[in-house]
């Protein structure tokens, strides 16, 4: 399944990813995606940072060129790796790091409740996704989005929606405040945000 860059799940994921990237203060960042719209979405979160984006194609470079103050160039595999790489739902597309010291990724997790909704969908669990990056990278989960606790809260809100608007809005808000789960339930969240630090 291709991620919809305008969906809530992608917006929230990008916000968290770019927050962590921003903390590392990189100068050159590889934006690892083949999707033009995903690249645009990610670039919006970067707009006022002083950095250069390395992208996967001239099409993406040209699309980002329309955004003022965003500097983008096509990635040159012969050149030294960028300071950091962003993988917005693109590890599952087969894109891989090229030696960047830091990676920040968002990945769908085959171990989440969605597996129950779509049992025939084949998607790797988050542990397999992270393991595929080892031993070159030491991976660390940052948070899970749409954890089981969140989904239960949202289901309760939906049950209340037709009965009592006031209780629905209160429950929905209570649930949304728990959208980002940094506790152990990240393992079973629909989306996992994690970092990888190059080991050698």
């Amino acid at each position: 399944m291709v991620a919809n860059p305008y969906s809530n799940e992608v917006r929230y994921s990008l916000g968290l990813m770019l927050h962590h990237l921003d903390a590392a203060r990189p100068r050159r960042v590889r934006l690892a995606t083949h999707c033009v719209e995903m690249a645009r979405s990610a670039a919006r979160f970067l707009c006022h940072s002083q950095l250069t984006l390395e992208v996967e194609s001239a099409t993406i470079r040209d699309a980002l060129g329309e955004i003022p103050k965003v500097a983008a160039e096509v990635r040159d595999p012969q050149r030294s790796p960028a300071d950091a790489a962003l993988f917005p739902f693109s590890l599952e597309e087969g894109l891989r790091p090229a030696g960047e010291p830091l990676l920040v990724a968002a990945s769908y997790n085959g171990l989440s409740y969605k597996r129950l909704l779509y049992p025939r969908q084949r998607r790797p669990g988050i542990f397999a996704t992270m393991a595929a990056l080892r031993p070159a990278y030491c991976t660390q989960p940052l948070a899970g989005l749409y954890s089981p606790r969140f989904i239960l809260g949202l289901a309760l809100a939906k049950m209340l929606e037709g009965r009592d608007s006031a209780r629905y809005f209160a429950q929905e808000d209570r649930t949304m405040r728990r959208l980002i789960d940094t506790g152990p339930l990240w393992r079973f969240s629909y989306i996992v945000i994690f970092t990888g630090h190059r080991t050698a």
């Binding site: 916000g15 921003d22 919006r44 329309e66 608007s165 209780r167 209160a170």
Partner: protein, 432 residues
Amino acid sequence: MSYSLGIAQPELRLSLARLGGWLEHMRGPGGYGGPISHWWESSLLYCGPMADWRYEGVICGYLSLYGATGAKRWLARARAAGDDLVAALLPSGKFRNSSFQQGPMEGGTPHEAAADVGLLELARVLRAEGDPSWAGYFEAARSNIRAYLLGELWSSKGFLDQPWNTALVPNKNATTIEALVLYEELSGEDMSPYLGPAVGVILGAQERSGPRAGATIHIGTGRHRLAIGIYTARSICGLLRLYERGSQDELLDAVHRALGFLRGLVTAEGVYFGRYPDGSLIVNPLIVAGAGDMLRATFWGRRYGLAADADVSALAAMLLRAQQPAGGLPFGYGMARRGGRQPYQGLPEFRDVLPAVGWCDKAFRALALLIEPGPDLSLDQSFQETQIECVWQGRRFEYFESAKTIALTSVMTGRSIYLWSKGTCYPSIYQL
């Protein structure tokens, strides 16, 4: 001491000077930034500049101060804000990062129309003074109006919520009406084909009887059909702007009904968010800074005898009382029990106390309408820090705002779970 509408002018002037000072502290590279609280969702991660409806209030507020005092500094600030918008215009004609609480995306509604209002009001003032730079601001607004408002949002029945969402939201049509009336005035192009259906959206959504009489129903709330005070107020402003273009008594009748609805929401601490379909009050949150739009609508309605001095002074006094030491105004009170029918009691929540530029601009714009012509405001004040005890997820915290940061720190442990440095795009600590 000079009083107008029961409001002490010295107090009002001091408040505006502090609010203007606070706005400039929230300004960084690229424009005004900061975290955002909202009923729908909050943007607490991305805190960078956004070209949304904040510019409507910022520009119009500064223009009002310029008009009242003649001091060029206010015009310079309005122009700087206009320059932010011009720089944020994309080749598509949309404004970069205009979606307010949704985070950095273009195409925000009614945000892009509101940004046009700011640009066109600025262009109007500059043109009247014979300043040729007015054309740059006008052209930016024209690009957006032509490419986005008319090019993508227009349907034969009114302006859509989004090109892919066919909901016709009354207050968004109202803001678009305001932009189009200004555009018509400056361009000479007849906007009648668009204005008629757009006002039809507002009038068609207005309740005519019952406990919500006068409210415009927010169509975007689906089955909940909420009647929301601040959005009804913005609808009023669209109707009045159109009335002043060409008198139609039908519009004043609708404004009269709407102001009656607003009057039932005002309290000394804020305005109720709105009413549910059964007429019961949506008590939480009480809206504070955003109630500036209710003050603007009420003050405008007073010009036509549709609101009393007491209506204006009650709202103005509420806003002045709510101002924080740092100069901003809180979003509201009661977000910890969002949507509740019973008043929330207890410490405010983090989102309540947070002052956002995109809400404070509304208070700034409305209060600036109330000052009487006179000398320039006194600006020789140092920044005062804000400290407020509040809650987050049921735990007690201290909210702190200095000239450089906004922080949320645990009362028990002294550990900060949120720290944003002004002028940056992201908080350096985010553990909410």
